[in-house]
Amino acid sequence: MSGGEADDGPERMYVITGGRSEAGGRAAADLDLVTLVVARSVPEPGMAPEHAAIVRMCQYPLSVAEVSAYLELPVSAVRVLLADLLAGGRAEARAPVPAASLPDAELLEAVMHGLQRL
């Protein structure tokens, strides 16, 4: 940290994602805000710091939105980072319940059941 303050500007983003854009990767674009991500490895020496941080925080499932919040990075950047980890087999994604035009009754019953316990 050579005395520089945290900077969320485009330059920082560019460095983190190696200049790749979300449009560049299908895998990245497929990641929904609520896709659950689980690490399949532990942080290893030589990993980029952001990758290591994600692997560390995803020892238990965590949504893409949560990863973005904890890393303090925009979702678009997190998608790219996650796509790297998925491609390298260091994390797995648990897809959200498929987007249907209307959710099915069984799913809704499960949601209602869970809410009633609040």
Binding site: V38, A53, A69, P96, V97, S101, G114
Partner: protein, 216 residues
């Protein structure tokens, strides 16, 4: 923590020193969590979105940023360099673990038209929406409702009762918002967990009726 320390780009100063970013141990989801669903809470400024999300969330609400980059419009680019403007919008969200496999996320998002660029990704796959309404400012809700109808997103309307806000008879409010008779309209106090839970249950019951049409 890394030999390429000088290139570390983590926003260190905003984290507690020595604490890697991530959830507190007690905020971890069960390892069996297999899928998640989302609900969007939408409404104008100050209508209580963050309060509602916080009331029902099992974790302290978190904030995520979404950026939109667009070619600058109406920006003079005499040098021929394409100017880009980048808009960042923060969304708060909360989480409810429904059972060992299923998790619900609640996203609060501003309703003003200039934030609608967020909606494509946000509503993709969402179960539905809660439109939070402040009766002192109905205009935003009006636009939001129109937009949700256009997109085919099922929603319920929750009236957040602020002190001193005009109390409209339900029928009047329905008319003012041009609400379809089938769309639930309920009162809520975003500060109360049970009230917010009931709003979510109202949405789920409504979705249920849409999913299981009765032959009558």
């Amino acid at each position: 923590m890394d030999s390429r320390g000088s290139e570390t780009l983590l926003p260190g100063p905003r984290h507690e020193v020595g604490t890697p970013p991530g959830p507190r141990a007690e905020d971890a989801l069960p390892a069996s969590a297999a899928s998640a669903v989302k609900v969007v809470v939408v409404g104008g400024f100050g209508v209580g979105k963050t309060t509602l999300v916080g009331s029902v969330s099992e974790i302290r609400p978190l904030t995520t940023e979404e950026t939109m980059t667009q070619a600058g419009v109406g920006v003079d680019d005499t040098a021929g360099v394409e100017r880009k403007t980048s808009t960042t919008v923060a969304m708060d969200f909360g989480r409810i673990t429904l059972n060992e496999q299923l998790v619900l996320y609640l996203f609060g998002t501003p309703g003003q038209e200039r934030f609608w660029f967020l909606w494509n990704r946000l509503f993709d796959g969402a179960l539905g929406a809660v439109v939070l309404v402040d009766t002192r400012r109905l205009e935003v809700s009006f636009d939001v409702i129109g937009r949700l109808e256009e997109r085919g997103v099922p929603f319920v309307v929750a009236v957040n009762a602020f002190p001193g806000a005009p109390v409209h008879p339900v029928a009047e409010l329905r008319a003012a918002l041009d609400l379809d008779a089938s769309v639930p309209l309920v009162d809520c106090d975003a500060r109360l967990r049970t009230s917010c839970r009931d709003v979510l249950l109202t949405l789920m019951r409504y979705l249920y009726t849409l999913a299981t049409p009765e032959p009558q």
